[in-house]
């Protein structure tokens, strides 16, 4: 019987955003992502009701990947955030919250989507142009002469991921390691095109975080049994290495589509083994010191090599092959016949290292851009989170090298942008009104919706019921504790703004973040002394955040533009 069934008709619903269902789901998603945002964000535990691992996380990638989203509109949102994170590793929650806020705020206005989308696009270009301009006061150029800014960037990323469960001392240690690992991947004599190397993260669970380390070269994990078979390493200046990508197990390779008829008494295994021994002899005569194989080496060949003082390590795996050929300068050998002498490589030193309970075979190169980051954390969940955070940080550093700027973090960029947009649209609305053919009221309404989306995004950083303030000079973000004693005059309390650039000594007119007040021109052009003043700034990756802003506004426009949803129920 055929199992072919007629397709069920799809469900078609018009104006998907107007129903209560969409609003409720959107609000639920916003609540979820906003509660994870920032260093004080709450953690979420993801688990499958039928068993399997439990993940404790506040990362947008993990959250949204595991979240079963029912409403089709939210599927667009989560897909956009996930592909942004896949691209930039950072600013996922930022994008998600901003997008939700924008959709919700605009939905309340009741203007036609055309007007809103056009104006939103205009406001976005206002933001991006300002952020890319020289006068921007929330952007700091990176000085590669010192590690200060880069270290602050890494530390901010680590701090914003509370699920890593690190204390301040550990954060300092890990951020230095990450920065060191990153610096090791930069080639020394850089030409026009810089090709960055690779930092391999090696897991070492169950150890103290402080035990984490960065080592140049490659660590290959070996079991204790294997270790006993490896000979004591003789002292030498350099070691000759051969790396094989074919299997050295003596199995018969692809024989073609036809049949292979073997006469009685003929042993192909012996023939293949003879071939392997010939190979071994060639390796011996070429004075190779180390044989590494991606796949399996036949025990007899291993034995043969050991008797000739050659170290053999097999089952390297495909993921290590590329850095391995980079470190040793070899070309992976794909032939069992004669080997060209040019395919051998060298390493400076070999040693066996023990970290925690694991043994590693450590290849120390002469001069390459590959390093190993040995990462420790107490438990599996926290280690997974830490590993992903390290990758995020390394990626952010790479992006920063490409575009040498960082943005102020801690909500200051958002509040500053809000002040800038409010001021711009209030004082110079003529050009916008002319370009976009809309009324003054429409512009004001959309601007207000856009700004309050950014403001409540910044406000999501505060989770403990505290008050959020903004100043009337720089437009930065200040937060004060909740439940203040009534006697204290609260505007005196905050000591530093969210990013840590300014302290409260100056005369700043504070006001509540979401309160109505007169727009003011925020101070542009960061003063040079301000750049140098603070050592520990909270910083964000420029490229990732800028792209996140663009993706959020574009996705919000996309969602607002929907006239109808067709759900395939098959």
């Amino acid at each position: 019987m055929s199992r072919l069934e007629a397709k069920k008709p799809s469900i078609c619903s018009r104006e998907p955003l107007t129903g209560g269902r969409a609003g409720a789901s959107l609000a639920a998603l916003r609540g979820l992502v906003a509660s994870c945002y920032g260093p004080a964000g709450r953690l979420k535990q993801l688990h499958n009701g039928r068993g399997g691992p439990v993940a404790t996380t506040s990362r947008s990638a993990a959250l949204l990947a595991g979240l079963p989203v029912s409403h089709p509109v939210l599927k667009v949102l989560t897909a956009a955030v996930r592909s942004h994170v896949a691209c930039f590793s950072d600013a996922g929650l930022f994008t998600a919250i901003l997008c939700c806020n924008l959709v919700e705020n605009v939905q309340r206005l009741g203007l036609t989507p055309t007007t809103v989308i056009r104006l939103n696009k205009h406001l976005l270009s206002l933001c991006t142009r300002y952020l890319k301009s020289e006068v921007c006061a929330c952007r700091i150029p990176v000085d590669f002469g010192s590690t200060q800014i880069l270290l602050s960037l890494v530390r901010s990323i680590l701090t914003s991921k509370p699920a890593c469960m690190l204390i301040a001392k550990e954060i300092d240690h890990i951020s230095t390691l990450i920065l060191r690992a990153f610096l090791l991947t930069i080639p020394e004599n850089a030409q026009e095109h810089v090709i960055l190397g690779k930092s391999i993260i090696v897991p070492l669970k169950g150890q103290r975080v402080i035990d984490s380390a960065v080592l140049p070269g490659i660590l290959i994990e070996v079991s204790e049994v294997q270790l006993k078979k490896i000979l004591p390493i003789k002292k030498s200046d350099s070691f000759k290495v051969a790396v094989f990508c074919v299997s050295l197990s003596g199995d018969l390779s692809d024989t073609g589509e036809g049949t292979l008829l073997v006469s009685y008494g003929v042993s192909l295994e012996n023939a293949a083994l003879d071939q392997l021994f010939n190979l071994g002899k060639q390796l011996v005569s070429d004075h190779v010191d180390l044989v590494l194989c991606q796949k399996v080496i036949h025990p007899s060949l291993k034995q043969f090599l050991r008797t000739h003082q050659i170290i053999a390590v097999d089952r390297i795996g495909v993921s290590l092959m590329e850095p391995l050929s980079k470190v040793t300068g070899t070309r992976p050998i794909g032939s069992l016949g004669s080997i060209s002498p040019s395919s051998y490589g060298t390493v400076k030193d070999l040693c066996i290292a023990k970290f925690g309970c694991k043994h590693f075979f450590h290849l120390i190169p002469n001069k390459t851009t590959v390093c190993s980051l040995l990462l420790c954390n107490r438990n599996d969940t926290a280690w997974d989170e830490l590993k992903l955070t390290c990758q995020t940080a390394l990626h952010a550093l790479q992006l920063t090298v490409k575009e040498p700027y960082v943005l102020l973090g801690g909500g200051c960029t958002e509040t500053h942008l809000v002040a800038y947009i409010r001021h711009k649209t209030r004082n110079e609305p003529e050009s916008i009104l002319r370009d976009e053919r809309c009324s003054q009221t429409e512009l004001q309404l959309v601007t207000e919706a856009f700004c309050s989306a950014l403001e409540s995004l910044a406000g999501s950083l505060e989770h403990d019921g505290g008050e959020v303030l903004t100043d009337g000079k720089y437009g930065h973000f200040w937060s004060v504790q909740a439940n203040l004693p009534s006697a204290v005059n609260w505007p005196d309390l905050p000591s530093r703004c969210g990013c840590g650039l300014y302290s409260s000594q100056e005369e700043l007119s504070w006001s509540f973040l979401r309160s109505a007040r007169h727009p003011f021109p925020p101070q542009t052009c960061l003063s040079p002394e301000a750049k140098g003043s603070a050592d520990t700034l909270t910083l964000d990756c420029f490229t990732a955040k800028l792209s996140g802003l663009q993706v959020a506004v574009e996705t919000a426009s996309l969602i607002l533009d929907l006239s109808c949803v067709i759900e395939d129920t098959n």
Binding site: A6, K7, K8, P9, S10, C12, R14, P72, V73, K75, V76, A79, A80, S83, H84, V85, A86, C87, F88, T114, I117, C245, V246, S253, D254, T255, G256, E257, G258, T259, L260, S263, V266, S267, L268, A271, D274, Q275, R331, G334, S335, L336, G337, S338, S343, Q550, V551, E554, T555, L558, D561, L562, S563, C564, V565, I566, E567, D568, T569, N570
Partner: protein
């Protein structure tokens, strides 16, 4: 289960579809989100895609969707307009029936009987529609509308050159209806740049469009997670895979293509390899290794730096290639291979049979070959040196979600299809006739002529038997020369007629014969904008009658009136009811020349509306008047939706009144829209809708079958046979 098929039902269905598609029509249209059962989301404004995504069950709806998709296959555009237009036509038809209802009520017949009666009426109307589509539409297009056409080509000289600004306007209007309003400017600019960058030789852009349309899947790369504004065009071809081995090379880079593994295998399929000893095994393995090395060495000696392979190559080949400084790309798809072959005209490298003989193999030059990293994914980037008019370029489409990228891909692909259509000539042919008497309407004519139909035949045969023979012979000939059957078939009949009017004589048989063949040849050659009068050659060969014929021709130009002839039926002599009267008929073969455009914003619809109403006023037959009126009014449905959100001076009534005034006073129509659309596309859309409507109207009963007609029965019967 059976359900009566009726206009009311069809209208209900069409109205539902209309509400969905009208939301995405035009520059103000919005997006539709489709979710797939796999959980993916797709954004779309493409009418065809939306209709497919609905998985409609209603039989009438399925007929409509089938009609739309067959129209899309032809032209690649106009699905939304199709539905809206169809809906308005059905609405118009229902109004007519509502008016005539009283007439039906008078007759006290049972419902069932009334239904059949209804069906008869619908059949009647559908015939009239068909006649309209085949006769009047072409006539009006050619005679009235053509004077408003603009051309997309920059000059009126013979050489067709693309005008950038008009192409921009054409594409701008197309993408307004296809992609989100945030991005249409960007995408249309991208497409325009792409067309000009890919076209090496300006006059051969059609070839470029053909290649791009055929191989678009290989010429685009989608990157998710980046803002749409990062989309761009890069020179060269991007293969969506990484190098198996990459050896940086510069200077003279040659490439070779292989379609099989370079390393010889022990045995090929269907053969047997007998191993008698271990030594034999080792020697054969050694031979394999040596031979592989030799082939790779040979490639190196040919200066080949890049090997493209359609299959996975063994490790040995990769190793040898790496040693010899040859980069390898494996597992190319057939589409990629065929594109590369089309661009550089390179045949795959044939592996030499014996190890000693190496003939000079096929290689080609490339400008560069390097890895390309997009969003931390690696691609192969090739700078192919093109041997045809297409200079390879790739579009990199970025977007926050995959669904949006897919929408842009579809829109771009559709745009190439649309452009190909724009640059094609579209034939129009129709019949005009100078007869003072009023022609009766199509179906009636049919009835009448059927009664009369024996007569001409009898007359024919009675006049001259030998003549009949030639006609038959000619028909046979025509069947053989199938190039332009439809056109030629028209030619047979007038002969019959002319023979009679001039009272034919014996020597004419030979003359007509030669004339027939001559005509056939002429018709098969493509004609553009020429009016062919079939009388002409006849006159030339028959000097005696030339004067009379000439006067008739003159009349035919002055006093134009169309006969209602279904083209497919014109073979039958019985169509010519008034043989004596309709003596001077003119057959016009005209065309909408390639690159004809009109400004967007319902210009085509309003123009056609105006001329159809004019025609309806002149036309005296009630049926044709009615059909023309219905179609004319339905045409306004699209501009009405387009101008829905506009206010004040730009609202639809204002625009409409202004356009009509301009037309009446013979002034040029002023359009406030920038953008152009293809006339041929609109024309084809109109004919497709009319055909679809005819389809729907002719069905009287829908029978629901529980299970599919089973094939097993067929098989059984075959076995028995």
């Amino acid at each position: 289960m059976a359900a009566a098929g009726s206009v009311t039902v069809a209208l209900h269905v069409a109205e539902v579809l209309e509400t969905i598609v009208s939301g995405c029509l035009g520059p103000e249209g919005r997006q539709v989100l489709c979710t797939k059962p796999t959980g993916e989301v797709l954004l779309s404004r493409d009418g065809g895609r939306l209709l497919k995504a609905l998985h409609l069950e209603h039989p009438v709806a399925r007929v409509m969707v089938a009609c739309v998709s067959s129209h899309l296959r032809k032209t690649g555009d106009g699905a939304k307009t199709f539905i809206i237009f169809l809906c308005h036509l059905l609405r118009g038809l229902r109004e007519i029936t509502d008016k005539e209802k009283d007439y039906f009520l008078f007759e006290n017949i049972q419902t069932c009987g009334r239904h059949w009666k209804n069906c008869c009426q619908w059949k009647f109307i559908s015939q009239a529609l068909l006649t309209f589509q085949t006769q009047i539409l072409d006539y009006i297009m050619d005679l009235y509308l053509s004077r408003h056409f603009l051309s997309i080509f920059s000059s009126c000289s013979k050489e067709r050159t693309l005008c950038r600004s008009s192409l921009e306007m054409l594409l701008g209007a197309y993408f307004c209806g296809r992609v989100g309003r945030n991005n249409h400017n960007l995408i249309s600019q991208l497409m325009c740049d792409y067309v000009f960058k890919c076209t090496a030789c300006e006059s051969r852009f059609e070839e470029v469009l053909e290649i791009v349309d055929d191989c678009f899947g290989e010429l685009k790369v989608g990157v998710t997670g980046l803002p749409v504004s990062d989309s761009r065009i890069i020179a060269g071809l991007v293969l969506q895979r990484d190098f198996s081995v990459y050896c940086p090379a510069d200077g003279d880079i040659r490439i070779a293509i292989v379609t099989e593994t370079i390393q010889p295998l022990f045995s090929v399929s269907g053969s047997e390899f007998i191993l008698n000893s271990e030594a034999q095994f080792q020697t054969s393995q050694l031979w394999i290794t040596e031979r592989t090395k030799a082939i790779v060495k040979h490639l190196q000696s040919q200066n080949v730096k890049l090997l493209l392979s359609t299959v996975k190559q063994p490790d040995l080949v990769i190793y040898c290639a790496g040693l010899n400084g040859i980069s390898v790309v494996e597992c190319l798809s057939h589409e990629e291979l065929s594109l590369i072959q089309r661009v550089i005209g390179l045949a795959p490298f044939a592996l030499p049979e014996a190890s000693s003989q190496y003939e000079l193999s096929h290689t080609a030059l490339v400008k560069f070959c390097k890895p390309l990293i997009l969003r931390s994914k690696r691609y192969v980037h090739l700078g192919l040196v093109s041997t045809c008019s297409f200079t390879p370029h790739c579009v990199i489409l970025c977007g926050p979600v995959q669904g949006l990228i897919e929408q842009h891909e579809d829109a771009l692909h559709g745009a190439f299809k649309m452009l190909r259509q724009v640059f094609k000539d579209l034939d129009l042919n129709y019949v005009t006739q100078t007869s003072d008497q009023n022609c009766t309407s199509g179906p009636r004519i049919y009835e009448n002529s059927r009664e009369n139909n024996e007569l001409p035949k009898i007359v024919n045969s009675s006049i001259q038997r030998s003549y009949q023979d030639t006609v038959v012979k000619n028909k046979g000939e025509l069947a053989k020369t199938q190039t332009n059957l439809k056109v030629c078939s028209n030619l047979i009949v007038p002969n019959v007629k002319l023979e009679k009017t001039v009272l034919c004589s014996a020597p004419k048989v030979a003359v007509t014969d030669s004339y027939q063949t001559e005509e056939t040849l002429r018709c098969s050659s493509p004609n553009k904008g020429t009016i062919m009068d079939d009388h002409e050659p006849y006159i030339e060969s028959n000097s005696a009658n030339s004067t009379t014929e000439n006067t008739r021709r003159e009349i035919s130009y002055e006093n134009l009136q169309v006969t209602k002839l279904a083209r497919k039926d014109s073979m039958l002599p019985l169509r010519y009811k008034s043989l004596e009267m309709c003596s001077s008929q003119s057959y016009y073969f005209s065309s909408i020349p390639a690159g004809c455009v009109l400004p967007v914003g319902g210009n085509f619809e309003i123009l056609l509306h105006y001329y159809l109403l004019n025609y309806a006023k002149k036309c005296q037959q009630s049926e044709q008047t009615m059909v023309s009126r219905i179609i004319a009014n339905a045409l306004l449905g699209v501009p009405k939706i387009l101008y829905k959100s506009k206010k004040g001076n730009y609202s639809f009534p204002q625009v409409y009144v202004r356009a009509l005034q301009a037309l009446q006073t013979n002034q040029p129509m002023i359009s406030n829209q920038t953008g152009l659309e293809s006339v041929a596309g609109k024309y084809q859309l109109l004919t497709s809708v009319l055909q679809c409507l005819t389809n729907i109207l002719t069905v009287d009963l829908v029978i629901h079958i529980e299970r599919q007609p089973q094939e097993i029965y067929d098989q059984d019967s075959e076995e028995e046979l």
